[in-house]
Amino acid sequence: MSLIQGIHHYCIGLSYLCALLLELARLFWPGKGWRVAGLVFGAAGLFAHTAYLLFNQPSPAVPYGSLLLLAWVLALFYIYGTIHHAKQTWAVFVLPVVLGLIVASRVLFKTGPDSAAFDAAGWLTGDRFWASVHGVLILLTSVGVSVSFLASVMYLIQARRLRKKLAPVSALPMLSLERLETMNRRALNVAFPMLTVGLLVGTLLLPHGPSLGDNWLSVKVLSTAALWVVFLVLLYLRYGAHVPARRLALFSIAAFALLLVALVTAHPFAVGGAK
């Protein structure tokens, strides 16, 4: 137990950082060893990350908790991608986002409105049930938006190569544009209904928060609402206006920026709610 208690943001971050450095080394000196070593570090990071989440149970309602949970889901995505798409430079794109989220989580650890722990039993019963439904849906939306962001970044790089007529599959092997576009589309298609329902539940819960006026005008609520609007625009551009995928990728990146704003700002229900 003391070993798990000793797990810190640094241990998790350093493991992922080593995995990233090994993956970068693979780009310059191709070889199976780098990937395997990178995966070992990545898996160690994921293990430490999981243990930390299980032991500390940070609340998804506070910035540090939500960022750490999102980083965990993306770390899973990284491990899956690295194994499933062995030849692609998957980790080089996913791990910086995971690391960024961990760093942000660390920065917001003390400065956030509270560092409340997630009380699983409490969140699943009584009047907090709907709040937990809201939290889970927003977290899943975050995963969708993050996946869409990663797919969009890779898409833009791949598309730039094509526009400049650079030699394909050179130093940075990536999935095809079609595959990245499909990944982006699916992530958004799945995330939008979840965001809609999550927002709806959150809207119904807002009047029960500590201060009604402040709740509606909080940055978190406004940025999440803006995210929903961006989603709507994205869906229209894709299915209604048939806008080229490159422009959709730019919108997806904007959606991720809004998501980050929503994640790092205080949740109306968490203000003053420290345990």
Partner: protein
């Protein structure tokens, strides 16, 4: 090791001679049988379009096979004169022969550096010799090692990355854009050779449909029949362009057949933003390069593809030093392991022989000194004899091992066996 790699390749012999020296199945069988019977040599014949090589190994006690003898042998097999063959043959001996094979298998000695076909040809040559029981302990170790080295070089360096022909560069672009072709339509405009080659590559990925169009309906029909596609009348080119995901264009038209205006007015809008890849392999060009936007429509002409192929080749060459390093390390390892394998029984026999003599002398001494020695004195004498033996043999064994490391322990091994009266 008594190994020789003797042969000719694209650098040492003209294609006319290489053609005459080519081995078919019957000649291979005959050559291997003759080499076994006549020279007591284990052998493998490696014949590709760029090289004809024979790898031969004989017992260390007999003279190796050299170029003049092999030239005569090849002349006899192919019905040529030895004097026309000999000047074009090269010879690599022992470790250098192993290195040559490792380089060949890894594609480092190929015209197209890093080409993958050669490792399959090496494997095939070895397996066919193995089937004919023409190989022995050395070649049965050497060839599997060469195939391992080839795999290592390809996986640990970028030597085999990307395609290096113009037609396959087009396929690489396709892979960069589309994950599958099973729901895509390929449109072939014209009947140029380059387009046909690119189409061959693409059809390996099973496109949903292949449309072929040509100013001459007869030629369109013939080309469509050849590639299992559907002929489209030349007048319906715009409709075919709307339908297509990939276009291979190789007409001999003196002016562009698809101008930007024509494409924007009659094709672009009807495509609803779907991605189109155009490979304009015609000179003069068939498509106005201004159509390229790198997003919905990408147009690559023959210069773009040739540039990619050249870049690929340069990129492969960049990995040559790393690949050569792997080959060198593997050759050293192979030679050391082979020699150790050969030295092991000799060292074992040497030690056993010395132990036998030591035990006999000790036994005689102990009988003579019976009762006059304490247990401690007996053990000290035994220790002194053991020490003497190990110091005496240390020199020859160390020299043998050192010689093995350097890759030429054969002569010394023979000398030790003779000096100490060991049986082979």
């Amino acid at each position: 090791m008594n190994l020789r790699a003797i042969g000719c390749n694209v650098e040492s012999a003209a294609v006319e001679l290489r053609e005459k020296l080519a081995f078919d199945a019957a000649k291979t069988q005959k050559a291997l049988a003759e080499l076994n019977a006549r020279f007591a040599a284990e052998a493998v014949v490696l014949g590709t379009c760029n090289r004809v090589e024979i790898y031969v190994s004989r017992a260390e006690t007999v003279a190796p096979l050299h170029v003049p003898l092999m030239a005569e042998f090849l002349a006899e097999i192919h019905g040529l004169s030895a004097s026309t063959i000999a000047p074009h043959l090269y010879e690599h001996a022992d470790a250098a022969a192993a290195k040559h094979l490792f380089r060949v298998a890894a594609g480092l000695d190929s015209v197209v550096v890093g080409e993958s076909q050669i490792s399959g040809q090496v494997k095939e040559a070895y397996e066919s010799a193995l089937k004919l029981t023409a190989t022995g302990p050395l070649l049965n170790t050497l060839f599997p090692a060469a195939l391992r080295v080839s795999k290592r070089v390809r996986s640990e360096t970028g030597i085999a990355q990307g395609h290096v022909s113009v037609a396959s560069a087009a396929v690489d672009y396709v892979r960069q854009v589309f994950s599958t072709l099973t729901d895509k339509t390929v449109l072939v405009i014209g009947a140029g050779e380059m387009g046909r080659l690119a189409l061959n590559h693409l059809t390996e990925r099973h496109p949903a449909a292949v449309l072929v169009t040509n100013r001459s309906p007869e030629r369109a029909a013939a080309s469509a029949a050849e590639c299992g596609g559907r002929a489209v009348p030349w007048e319906h080119l715009d409709d075919a362009l709307v339908q297509a995901d990939i276009v291979l264009s190789t007409t001999g038209a003196p002016e562009p057949i698809v101008t930007r205006r024509r494409f924007d007015d009659k094709v672009r809008r009807r495509r609803a933003g779907r991605t189109l890849l155009v490979f304009d392999m015609a000179v003069p060009r068939d498509f106005d390069p201004a159509i390229h936007d790198g997003d919905a429509v990408s147009v690559f002409n023959v210069d773009d593809l040739a540039r990619v192929a050249d870049e690929r080749m340069a990129e492969r060459r960049r990995h040559l030093p790393a690949a050569e390093q792997i080959v060198d390390a593997e050759v050293t390892k192979f030679v050391k392991e082979w020699n150790t394998r050969q030295d092991g029984p000799v060292i074992g026999q040497l030690n056993a022989e010395a132990e036998k003599i030591r035990d006999e002398i000790l036994a005689a001494l102990m009988t003579k000194m019976n009762g006059r020695l304490s247990a401690k004195e007996r053990s000290e004498i035994e220790y002194a004899f053991r020490l003497f033996q190990s110091k005496l043999l240390h020199g020859p064994i160390a020299a043998l091992k050192e010689s093995s490391r350097e890759g030429h322990s054969g002569g010394l091994r023979e000398a030790i066996m003779k000096l100490f009266g060991l049986k082979g």
